[in-house]
Every structure is written in C-alpha cells, then in structure tokens.
Subunit: 210 residues, 2 copies
DNA sequence: TGTACATCAGTGAACGCGCGTTCACTGATGTAC
DNA sequence: TGTACATCAGTGAACGCGCGTTCACTGATGTAC
C-alpha cells in the first residue's frame, strides 16, 4: 500500500501490455490508498479504476462486486495494524510495560496515518465487518494485546484479569484514535500530547497507578 | 426528536393545509430520525421530504442546502447529549463520583440510542464540524465534565488537573461508545458489561484506584 | 367588514451528475498436436 | 518449430438509479385601505 500514483500506474500498465500483471492486487492497493486519502464516503470504484488505468468493467473479472473489494481492503487494514503492533512491541521487549504502551501508541499512529481504512475497519457496513477473514484478523490483533498483558502480569506477580485489562486499554486507545482523527481534542484542549496521555493512562488502567 | 413516523406525518400535513405549520423543525426532526435509524450514509434529503410529506424542493425555502440541515442536526445532537449528561449528574448529585460515572454512562447510552447522529457529531464532514454552534455546544458539554471533576477534586482535597483527568475520561467513554456501537466488543469479549467497566475505569483514571 | 395585492411557502417537472453493474466484444496468452 | 484453438482478461458503450438542486408556477396568508 501507500504507493504513489506513479507507482500504481506503472504497476497498472506494464509496458503497453494488454493484459495487466496483477490487476487484483493493484485494484486493492488503489482502493486502499484512495480511501485513506479521501475517506470511504468519497471513494468510488470508478476512481480506483481510473487510478489503475483500466475500464470500470475490469474489476468484475476479479471481484464479485464493490463490497468484495472493500472487504479485502478492510482485511488488509487489520493486517497492517497488527504488523505495526508487533513491530512496536518487539522494539521495546515482549511483555514489558514499555511494549504495551508502544502498542497503544502504534494503534493511534495507525488510525492517524490510515484514517480512511481505520474507519472502514471499525465503522464500515456489516457486509465488511462480518466477513470471516476480517473477524479473524481482528481477533488476532486483540489476542496479541491480551498475550502481552498476560506476560507482563505474570512477570510482576499481578493477579489482574488480563482480558479485562486489555479491553480497558483497547477502549482507551480506540477513543484516543477516534477523537484525534476527528480533530476533537484540538477544539477543546489544543495542545494535548496524546502519546504522553496514553503512557500516563495505561499504568492506571493496569491498576498500577503512578 | 424520536417521533414516530405517524407523529411526523401529523406534524407534517396539518389537516390538509397547504402551508405547513413548521416545516423547518419538521424536516430537522425527520433528518435526525432517519439518520439514527439508517445511518448518515444511507440518509438522503429526498427521504426526509417523503417522510415529511413535502416535495423535494420544499427544503430550499428553509435551508441553503443539504449541509445546512445536517449542521442543524449535528447541533441538536450535542444539545441532546449535554441534556442527558446534566440529567445523569443531577440524579446522582453534583460533583460526586457517582455523578461523574453516570455522566460517562449517559454518553455511551446516547451513542447507542442515537448512533447515526453520534457519528455525525464526531465523524461528520468538516462542513458540519466547523459550524460555530456545533463547536460551541461541543465545548459546553466538555466544560460541564471538567466542572464536575473540579468540584469533586476540590471536595476531596485532590490536586489532580481536572482538565487532564477529564480528557482521559472522555477518551475512555468515547472509545467505549465507538466499540459498542460498531459491535466490536461482541466479537471479542461477548459478555462484557460496558457500564460496569466504565464504573471500574473512571476511578482509576481519576488516579484513585478502586 | 370587504377587497386588492404583495409576500410567502409550497408544488411538480426537469436537469445534470456520477455511480455500480452488465453486455457483447476483442486482443493476448498458453497449450495440444 | 508451427499452427489451431480454447481460455482468459481486458474494452467501451450502455443501462437504470437516485441523488441534490433549480425553475417557473400557484395556492394560501396577512396587511392596507
């Protein structure tokens, strides 16, 4: 994802060939990018075709309909998000407080940099939310958080319910993401440092103030 | 708001009169209800006209364009939300922990019962977010929360920064609202009691673990 | 009280728009012999 | 290696749809005299 328009168009029309190299992947990437740039509301399949330099009929060789592409984009979103979470944790150390905090911050970063897809992942039509790959990838991501908290609690002799703590943390970082994306903090507390707030709140939610 | 279709239609066509009693208000109410029932994406001004029993040209006697109606609906949303918050606090007592918790729960209740408008209030187009009445009403609502926390802290000799605590609480209940609305908890922790979680988390975020 | 008239709030038909999707087609590719 | 042919992945034109908005209009209302 995150290809430039030029890159997409190169991929799209490889040296004047009639057949496209991999239109399926190119279209998904085009949709992913358009949605992030302009939002899912302003997205149209026709735009994605234009970006990929194919006719508006071409997608139907690869997808049943528009929703099938969007479900694919949504799944990619969860993959990308989990990848960021794993990366953040591994940079700080598995099962450490720093790792858990970094994971929360990565969640917010993802929402900020890929806001359109983030909205699709969490507020999209049921047709997208309920596809099995999407549900499974979502569960993976949350499961990873629980795992990190479990390791942390065991290592520190804490008897918290890791699942309950994880849900609270998720709730918090999700709220932070949404409010940040929608410029709501800005209007009310203009110079809020969201990452610092997360680093501050997570120990509290772990039941370890201070 | 929250009129039944019949009520709207009675309001809409008072006893065969050519002139409508108060089409402006009726249209706003119709939009408000349609958006809550079917979501802002599925909403069309034409539908609202049908519900109000007027032609699709009629709104242009009262509003510049579609966005002007939506901005009005968004403002109504903030009014309704603040009203619920005030009601919840007053039922529990000003500046009490119970009042603050009830306020958070009211936020979630509002998101659940008026999800379409909630999305408009927080995720709508900039044209809606940036109208002055909307900004002002949003600030009012948040200011009320800060006020309650300030009273509480002073009464208990706590030296927390009420603003910082308020932002954390807002973040938390906003996240809970979003995840609940979008059926995300359901897929991951099916029998979560969200209100209990809020009652649990708020003291933690106040820096007063439970 | 009655009439003339300006103003206002509706109507209904039409517009252009861009969308998702379908259709019959055609050019390119790969395989069998 | 060369040819015949089935298959596949595109094209381009057309479709029906519902939308927001505009237009000239008309019926109802309220006011001045």
């Amino acid at each position: 994802m995150a290809m430039t328009t030029e890159e997409l168009q190169e991929t799209a029309a490889p040296k004047g060939k009639y057949h496209h190299g991999d239109l399926r992947q190119t279209l998904i990437a085009a949709c992913y990018d358009i949605i992030n740039e302009r939002g899912a509301d302003a997205f149209s399949l026709a735009d994605a075709c234009r970006l990929a330099n194919v006719s508006t009929a071409a997608p139907y060789r690869h997808f049943k309909d528009r929703d099938e592409i969007l479900a694919e984009v949504t799944a990619r979103g969860f993959e990308a998000m989990t990848a960021r979470a794993v990366e953040a944790v591994e940079a700080q150390g598995e099962g450490t407080l720093e790792g858990i905090v970094a994971m929360g911050q990565a969640y917010v970063d993802f929402a900020l940099s890929e806001g359109g897809v983030f909205r699709l992942m969490f507020g999209g039509a049921p047709a997208l939310q309920d596809s099995e790959p999407v549900i499974e990838l979502g569960n993976n991501c949350f499961g990873y958080l629980i795992q990190q908290i479990t390791i942390y609690c065991m290592a520190h002799g804490m008897e918290q319910d890791a699942g309950a703590v994880a849900v609270k943390m998720w709730t918090f970082v999700h709220g932070a993401s949404a409010l940040l994306m929608d410029d709501k903090y800005e209007k009310v507390t203009p110079d809020l440092d969201v990452k610092a707030m997360i680093a501050d709140a997570i120990p509290m939610l772990l039941g370890k103030p201070g």
